[in-house]
């Protein structure tokens, strides 16, 4: 069963016994939680789309064993694969208007795949063999895997091994003949409650004394010792009110959580890095490079939804022909397509690694992500500008449906002739959801900090800027001799 249907995916998640907490209570059934269910729907969409003839060309690929697999479990074999990845992410963003959560694991697969090969090449270890077998499992069972990189980090001025609390970074606390025991936590974990497995990676460059922190492995999300504490999102409890309109996006959403590893056992065959500290940098840079590419797809797809919502708001407000409205929509499209152009460019310029898989152009991927830290905010501001204040002042669905109050709302919040007031409010709520509600977690703040905060990209851009070559060019033009 290399390709699961959406229903088979739900059934497979139901079988897991994850230790999930939210609002101080244990969540026995995440599927029935109104807060978590939309995020499950988003991941399910990645399975549903792969089953549809009109999307399978980018949603599927050929796996390590020659089977048809979901592209979210693919190891890139060409620049074309890298391009198709971005296109798939745009599609999924368009269809959900939310974070569909499966990219982090996808990016981790490709980063770990090539890094393990190079570790083995240097040390004669067997991490790549371990990982290849793991990928055959993931592809064969069509797993969703949470890619886990970010640690709590404690005092940011101190390295992992110098922290007052040794658990500030996830680390090995016991080495046994059959594996290791780890303790620590991974924070901001997107989609963990909807994942079969968690693939852990180190979060930063490491020195020899950080050996116990240079660890990469994968375990099931319901492993003994794992506790998941769901993070809050702006306006999250609206989902508990039973209103479809007020949530903005009644079908889809994202989720994030703190994931605690309290003495979790990892068997040897699930270890992909164990103490080779100098390779932590390679793994982090490759993962973050892939993930910076990802944002040139997923955020663009969500941006498409937001631009469409803003255009509808203009229609419903009766001003689609106003020149400044048209110009603002053009600016939104320009910004959105610029992000896409960067995602495609870093893919087209990708190159083969020693392991045989393909890596994006790191400079262009970092430029992509640097733009992503800015443009969605500009697009969101323009959407709110076009929509107007009703985005944040519209009464509730309950009032809209109330016999007496509803009449007032219909009377005073009507828009252009022929437009239902309810439809106008629905669009305002969607814009609210994307720009300051639950989806703004993914569309805005995640655009800023996800895959590394802006300064992280600037460091990478600086490293790869070939400044000496640029100086030589200038000197040559004006005949400056060294």
């Amino acid at each position: 069963m290399a390709l699961m249907t959406g229903e088979q995916y739900l059934e497979s998640i139901r079988k897991l016994n994850m230790n999930i907490y939210m609002f101080g209570e244990k969540i026995k059934n995440a599927e029935s939680s109104p807060i978590l269910r939309p995020s499950l729907n988003s991941v399910k969409a990645t399975y549903d789309l792969a089953q549809m003839p009109e999307y399978e060309d980018i949603m599927t690929a050929t796996g390590l064993n020659g089977e048809k697999i979901n592209r979210f479990t693919h190891i890139h074999r060409s620049q074309e694969d890298l391009i198709k990845k971005v296109k798939m992410q745009r599609l999924c963003g368009k269809k959900t208007g939310a974070c569909f959560q499966r990219c982090v694991g996808f990016d981790a697969f490709n980063a770990v795949y090539s890094t393990t090969f190079e570790i083995d090449d240097k040390y004669g270890t067997h991490y790549h063999e371990n990982f290849r077998k793991y990928m055959e499992l993931v592809q064969g069972r069509d797993y969703t895997v949470d890619g886990a990189m970010t640690d709590g980090k404690g005092d940011r001025s101190l390295s992992p091994s110098k922290q007052p609390d040794p658990d500030s970074y996830l680390h090995v606390v016991e080495r046994r003949p059959d594996g290791v025991v780890v303790r620590g936590a991974k924070v901001h974990q997107t989609g963990i409650t909807n994942s079969h497995e968690v693939l852990v990676m180190p979060t930063c460059a490491m020195k020899p004394e950080d050996k116990d922190y240079a660890i990469s492995f994968a375990v099931p999300t319901d492993s003994k010792g794992i506790t998941i504490i769901v993070g809050r999102q702006s306006c999250d409890t609206r989902k508990l009110e039973g209103s479809s309109i007020d949530t903005g996006n009644p079908k889809f959403g994202g989720m994030e959580a703190l994931v605690v590893f309290d003495n979790v056992f990892v068997p040897n065959d699930r270890i992909f890095l164990n103490g080779e500290t100098e390779f932590a940098t390679m793994l982090v840079e490759r993962f973050s490079g892939y993930h910076r590419q990802s944002y040139g797809g997923c955020k663009v797809g969500v941006g498409d939804v937001l631009i469409g919502a803003a255009a509808l708001a203009a229609d419903y407000n009766g001003v689609p022909k106003a020149s400044h409205i048209k110009d603002k929509l053009i600016e939104m499209v320009h910004l959105n397509e610029t992000l896409y152009a960067c995602g495609i460019a870093c893919s087209a310029e990708g190159s083969k690694t020693k392991s045989g898989n393909y890596l994006i152009d790191l400079m262009l991927a970092n430029v992509c992500k640097q733009n992503v830290t800015r443009f969605p905010y500009d697009i969101a501001r323009l959407a709110q500008d076009i929509a107007g204040g009703l985005v944040v002042t519209a009464p509730s669905e309950k009032d809209l449906k109330d016999e007496k109050l509803g009449a007032y709302i219909e009377k005073y919040f009507c828009g252009a002739a022929g437009v239902k007031t309810e439809d106008r409010i629905k669009i305002m709520r969607l814009i609210e959801n994307l720009t300051l509600g639950t989806a703004a977690v993914g569309y805005l703040t995640e655009s800023l900090h996800g895959a590394g905060s802006p300064q992280a990209q600037r460091i990478m851009i600086s490293r790869q800027s070939h400044m000496d070559e640029k100086k030589k060019l200038a000197k040559a033009i004006v005949d400056i001799k060294d």
């Binding site: 003839p53 009109e54 999307y55 060309d57 198709k84 745009r90």
Partner: protein, 98 residues
């Protein structure tokens, strides 16, 4: 004799029109007892293949798709007329063969 038309879609990442609607319009122009449309399967041999590309990049992968009498790539609803004409011509020429 029934003509079998294979239908192949691109991945649909950024389509500029509704590809399924376009297919419905083409299908509706023919008697289903004489012309059958089906989503392509690899290693099958179709009389003719329609490729519904969502944009001008026409990226649908047809490397493993086989057709006896050719392929037609549609990139917008404007392609409906040409698709219908081609299928009609094919239908007539096959009748003559019979």
């Amino acid at each position: 004799m029934k003509i079998i038309i294979g239908v192949k879609y691109c991945g649909g990442c950024n389509v500029s029109y509704d590809r399924t609607e376009v297919l419905k319009k083409i299908e509706s122009a023919f008697d289903e007892s004489k012309v059958m449309f089906e989503n392509v399967k690899e290693n099958m041999l179709y009389d003719y293949v329609l490729i519904l590309n969502g944009c001008l990049s026409q990226c649908a992968d047809i490397s493993k798709i086989n057709s006896k009498y050719g392929f037609l790539s549609i990139v917008s609803p404007d392609g409906i007329k040409e698709a219908c004409e081609n299928i009609r011509i094919l239908s007539l020429s096959l009748k003559e063969q019979i």
